[in-house]
């Protein structure tokens, strides 16, 4: 949904004289699509969270990639990491990987599938909802996950911010 409008706009814009009615149509369509996925807004920041008592103050982008794609299995503090994907209706997982490594979910899926086949890697835990995610983070000192900035509460602490 995010890729389509720019492509349309860019196509049309490149044609030069873009009619007002086309722009209107795009706006309406965007709004309608936005209604069908109500919980997460497209333009909101995603934040990476850890256990509130974790010693980690801040994480680098590279460390995040290493952790979420299986290269690094321990947190910087030495704790065994519990990596959690959020696969709820809010489309956070797709946004997260798109923003972190520029890949879509199919690619991530394929990646993990290959690793699982060799028996080497283990994919992140798939949390079905924000609550489950927050509970898991709160109950595991080595947990690390991500969610919409708006949904962060006391059960977790933000260590990284992914802007759109």
């Amino acid at each position: 949904m995010q890729r389509l409008p720019p492509s349309l706009v860019s196509t049309r814009c490149s044609s030069g004289h873009l009619p007002r009615s086309w722009i209107l149509l795009v706006v309406v369509l965007s709004w309608l699509f936005g209604l069908s996925v109500p919980s997460t807004a497209v333009g909101r920041d995603l934040v990476v969270i850890v256990h509130p008592a974790s010693t980690i103050e801040e994480l680098g982008r590279a460390e995040l990639i290493h952790l979420f794609l299986g290269r690094q299995r321990r947190l910087p503090g030495g704790q065994r990491a519990l990596v959690i994907d959020l696969v709820g209706p809010g489309d956070e997982k797709r946004l997260f990987y798109a923003r972190l490594v520029g890949k879509d979910l199919a690619e991530i899926q394929s990646y993990w599938a290959r690793l699982v086949f060799t028996g080497r890697g283990s994919a992140p835990w798939q949390a079905e909802s924000v609550d489950e995610l927050l509970d898991l983070v709160h109950s595991n000192p080595g947990a690390i996950g991500y969610l919409d900035e708006a949904n962060v509460d006391h059960r977790a602490r933000v260590v990284f911010r992914l802007t759109p």
């Binding site: 590279a62 990639i65 794609l69 299986g70 290269r71 972190l100 490594v101 520029g102 890949k103 990646y111 290959r114 690793l115 060799t118 028996g119 080497r120 890697g121």
Partner: protein, 600 residues
């Protein structure tokens, strides 16, 4: 022709061609191999690069999560490729997986292909590297296969070209040349036969060659004919000269420098055999004509060579005829031919020589009395002087004898009686002197005697006295008649210092006239102002010489200059004037050389 296979044009031509083509082919194969190797290596590199492109995502993941399993699978997969000999995958400098065909140490890592592997999620991060080692053996195998193919093609090409050119050379060159050679072999150019060019080659180089050969043959046949004709002429000439040579009366021969005979004709052989009949082997030497004296032969040839012209010589050859010898004269002409050979001609001139000698003898002899005539006497007198003058003690006495009253015999008794008287007087004179002394009749009633080595006046006087005494006796003149006659004798004496025939004749003449004026039948010595009395004494010259030597020694001691030696040269000068001098002498003291007058 098969035995000449190796030397045949076709074979040589083909062999050379094949050799050249083989060399060229080898060069091409080598070039192809080198270029193929290079191209194949480049291709392999490209293939390896493509292979790496293919496996790079998987390797990136394996390196990213450092999974040896995944890396190993990729490595094994790559090794399955024939051009890959070794695969090494490292994650962050830590070996992750490797796969090699054969022991890792044996790998040729000089052409290793390395690529850095970046994180699949972050292109900025290098997470490892992959190294591929190409299989050079495989590359070489491929190149070799390709080269073999090229080589095989080359071989076929070389063979095809070789066979084709051999055939062409045989058909175009060798076969027609052989045809020409075979025809030439059986050709009889002396019968005017000509060479035909092989069919189809009339206008090309072979036809041209045939035309040249025909031209050459024609010229040679003409030359040979000419030569044959000349040889026949020469043969005729040769036979002619040979005949002349064989049958000539003249002896003809050829010798070398040392006188050995190289060639001679029968006439020469005859002459030589007569000259040296017992010589045998040595008779084949020119020395046979010189009593076997080699040095004379060598001197003759040396002179001939030095003068470089013909030398003529009359040779007297003594030919033994039984017990007594016969004399033979040979005229020899020797002509140098080049440096080493001499051609000679000999003629028997005995008869001519005899006639000559007889004529000479007659010219010197008075036919009536058998004594020397004026010419003969003077000539012999000169000989004596020539031989005697060098001896300082030599001396002569000349007696000039004029008959008194001879004219009356002739007038009253006739010429026969006169002649008879002259003959008797001649014999008388010869009896009175030694055999070695000369007696001559100068003409008419004038006789002359030359006594040699007689410086003692008593001996001379004795002889003169005997002649005068004979004059007192009557002379028998034939037919029972006798006549009276007298001798007026003039005597001149000379030694080696002063004597010349002319002076002696003149002096004797003067003395003779004095005798005649004194009444006849007497003798007178020539008396000169400077006449040295000591010369005419009872002592001989040898005895006097010692006295002179002593006197000279004393004179030398006293510092007196040595007396001048006798003027021999002056005498020789008079001698040297030859016939004229002789003629003047013939006048008996009438002609006087100016020198003599001065000296007197």
């Amino acid at each position: 022709m098969p035995s000449m296979m190796v030397r045949s044009l076709v074979t040589r031509h083909t062999l050379w061609l094949l050799l050249l083509l083989a060399a060229l082919g080898a060069f091409y194969v080598w070039m192809g191999y080198t270029l193929g190797m290079q191209r194949e290596t480049e291709q392999t590199q490209a293939q390896l690069s493509e292979l790496m492109d293919t496996v790079e995502p998987s390797v990136a993941i394996a390196c990213f999560i450092e999974d040896p399993q995944l890396a190993g699978e990729v490595a094994q997969g790559l090794l399955g490729n024939r051009i890959v000999q070794g695969v090494f995958i490292d994650a962050a400098a830590k070996p992750l997986a490797s796969a090699t065909d054969g022991p890792a140490a044996a790998l040729d890592s000089s052409r290793v292909l390395t690529r850095q592997i970046r994180s699949p999620f972050d292109p900025a991060e290098v997470v490892g590297e992959i190294r591929l080692i190409p299989d050079q053996r495989e590359i070489a195998k491929r190149v070799a296969q390709a080269s073999w193919f090229v080589g095989l093609l080359m071989l076929f090409q070389v063979l095809a070209i070789g066979i084709a050119t051999a055939l062409l050379a045989y058909v175009l060159v060798t076969r027609p040349l052989r045809q020409v050679a075979v025809r030439l072999h059986g050709l009889q150019p002396e019968r005017g036969a000509q060479l035909d060019p092989p069919r189809g080659h009339e206008a090309d180089e072979i036809g041209e060659l045939v035309r040249y050969i025909n031209g050459l043959l024609g010229r040679m046949v003409a030359h040979i004919d000419e030569e044959r004709r000349l040889r026949q002429e020469l043969e005729i000439d040769e036979r002619m000269y040979r005949s002349i040579f064989e049958h000539a009366e003249t002896g003809i021969f050829l010798i070398n420098g040392s006188g050995e005979l190289l060639s001679h004709n029968p006439s020469f052989m005859k002459i030589l055999e007569e000259a040296a009949p017992t010589a045998g082997e040595r008779s084949l030497h020119l020395a046979g004509l010189f009593d076997g004296d080699l040095t004379r032969v060598k001197a003759l040839t040396a002179l001939c060579r030095q003068e470089n012209r013909s030398i003529h010589q009359d040779l007297r050859v003594a030919i033994p005829r039984g017990l007594r010898q016969q004399e033979r004269w040979i005229h020899l002409t020797l002509t140098p031919i080049g440096d080493r050979l001499f051609q000679g001609i000999v003629n028997d001139i005995t008869e001519r020589k005899r006639v000559e000698l007889e004529a000479l003898e007659a010219a010197k002899t008075d036919s009536l009395t058998g004594l020397l005539n004026r010419m003969g006497f003077v000539a012999q007198m000169r000989d004596r002087f020539r031989h005697g003058l060098p001896d300082p003690c030599w001396s002569v006495a000349l007696m000039l004898i004029d008959l008194d009253l001879f004219k009356q015999i002739n007038d009253s008794l006739g010429h026969d009686a006169g002649d008879r008287a002259l003959i008797d007087i001649a014999q008388l004179l010869k009896r009175l002197v030694r055999r070695s002394d000369l007696v001559g009749r100068l003409g008419g009633d004038e006789f002359v005697i030359l006594l040699e080595q007689t410086d003692r006046s008593d001996v001379i006087e004795g002889i003169a006295q005997k002649i005068v005494e004979a004059g007192t006796r009557p002379l028998y003149v034939g037919d029972g008649r006798t006549a009276r006659i007298g001798f007026s004798i003039g005597i001149a004496v000379g030694g080696s210092e002063t004597a010349t025939p002319e002076r002696l004749f003149k002096q004797a003449d003067e003395a003779m006239y004095r005798a005649k004026r004194a009444g006849g039948n007497s003798f007178q010595f020539y008396e000169a102002v400077e006449q040295d009395d000591s010369r005419l004494g009872t002592a001989t010259c040898r005895e006097r010489e010692q006295v002179v030597t002593l006197a000279q020694a004393r004179a030398f001691d006293a510092g007196i200059e040595h007396p001048a030696p006798p003027a021999w040269d002056r005498i020789e000068a008079v001698e040297g004037t030859g016939d004229h001098a002789q003629d003047r002498t013939g006048g008996v003291g009438v002609a006087t050389p100016v020198d003599d007058v001065d000296q007197r």
